[in-house]
Amino acid sequence: MYEAHSLHESLSQFDSGTSALVTGEGSTGRVYDALTEVAENEAAILITTDDDARTALAALSERGMPTDRLAIVDATGGDRNDTTVEGVPVRRLSSPADLTGISLEFSKLLAGFQDSGYEKVRVGFASLSTLLMYAELRTVFRFLHVFSSRIRSAELLAVFAVNPGMHEPKTMSTIRTVFDCEVRIGEGVQGTGYV
């Protein structure tokens, strides 16, 4: 796994099929930034466990995200049941622990975009930290491994947010195995500046 320090410059260099981990404070915001850079012939799917669909959409719109080719999987477990928010398709799940549901709804949204002619789709996941609070590490590991393999097979791009300070070093070490690369925010430690 290699490290990068600027998400923006990294994304444009990522090969298709890459799953990237974004770590540090503000990682969710960086995931939103990554989605906002969606290209013309590309669609975007956000899987959110922290901000509900409406809040996430507001944050994306603020960044100038085009919303005509965006879909959201809202796993925050709120009690809303609308299937679109301001024209953006939303699929809702009862809990961040419903990894099967997340996988299912993601697959359906992906198929929808592919049927509409989008060959490229970028996926944002905010955040892994919440997932780890609701589900066992064992289950999350399986999910991440298979999900990132799916991303690789379909030649998509996925960016996952996590806050390492919330987890044991052993947990972070296990999670990191799954990812192709990691972008660390706010760490000038490596000496090449920070975003």
Partner: protein, 192 residues
């Protein structure tokens, strides 16, 4: 422990049973049952895949499914049905579906796929155990000491080899693989 070699066909139309068995016989050991109850008698942990007709006399495929899972927890079940079901059917516990009339290529490739998924799943368990072990090693030594540590090197080598084996089993992961492999994820670290 389910081996990958045995397929149980549960189908009441005898001509179909013979055809399916013939298609699978050069790669797999085949058992057959013409009803759900007979299937449960024939089923044991050496069966890797069950082909289950959704409409069976004396009880639908859907009703038998939980009992199949009880008897042989790791078994993969492909439903054979006249009508294409919703993609959501995978969350019910089926691993794949085939719509009638089933052709040879479809049947064989579906069975092969389910066997690969089982193998991939086993490898993933080993991977998790090794990755966890590595995480413990990392916590107990300095980065410098780790570089020359033999146990660490051995663990890393095994991890690399398992990942290669997983890629060989499922070179391309599709939506069905994603949903079913996540659905069947072990819940607890101690289960591995």
């Amino acid at each position: 422990m389910a081996t990958e070699g045995t397929v149980l066909i549960v189908e009441d139309e005898t001509e179909l049973v013979e055809v399916y068995a013939h298609w699978l016989a050069d790669r797999y050991e085949v058992r057959t049952s013409t009803s759900g109850t007979a299937a449960l008698d024939t089923l044991d942990e050496s069966v890797g895949v069950v082909l289950l007709d959704r409409r069976l006399p004396g009880g639908s495929g859907d009703d038998i499914l939980p009992k199949i899972r009880e008897r042989a927890p790791g078994v993969r079940v492909a439903m054979v049905t006249a009508v294409e079901p919703d993609f959501d059917i995978l969350t019910m516990g089926f691993d794949a579906y085939l719509t009638k009339p089933v052709d040879r290529e479809e049947l064989v490739s579906t069975v092969n796929r389910l066997v690969s998924r089982s193998a991939y799943s086993e490898l993933e368990r080993e991977l998790f155990a090794l990755v966890s072990k590595r995480a413990v090693l990392e916590g107990s030594k300095s980065p410098h000491a780790l570089e020359s540590n033999e146990e660490m090197q051995s663990v890393n080598a095994r991890i690399a080899s398992i990942r290669e084996a997983m890629d060989d089993e499922l070179p391309a992961v599709d939506d069905d693989d994603l949903v079913t492999l996540v659905r069947d994820a072990p819940r607890c670290s101690r289960d591995v």
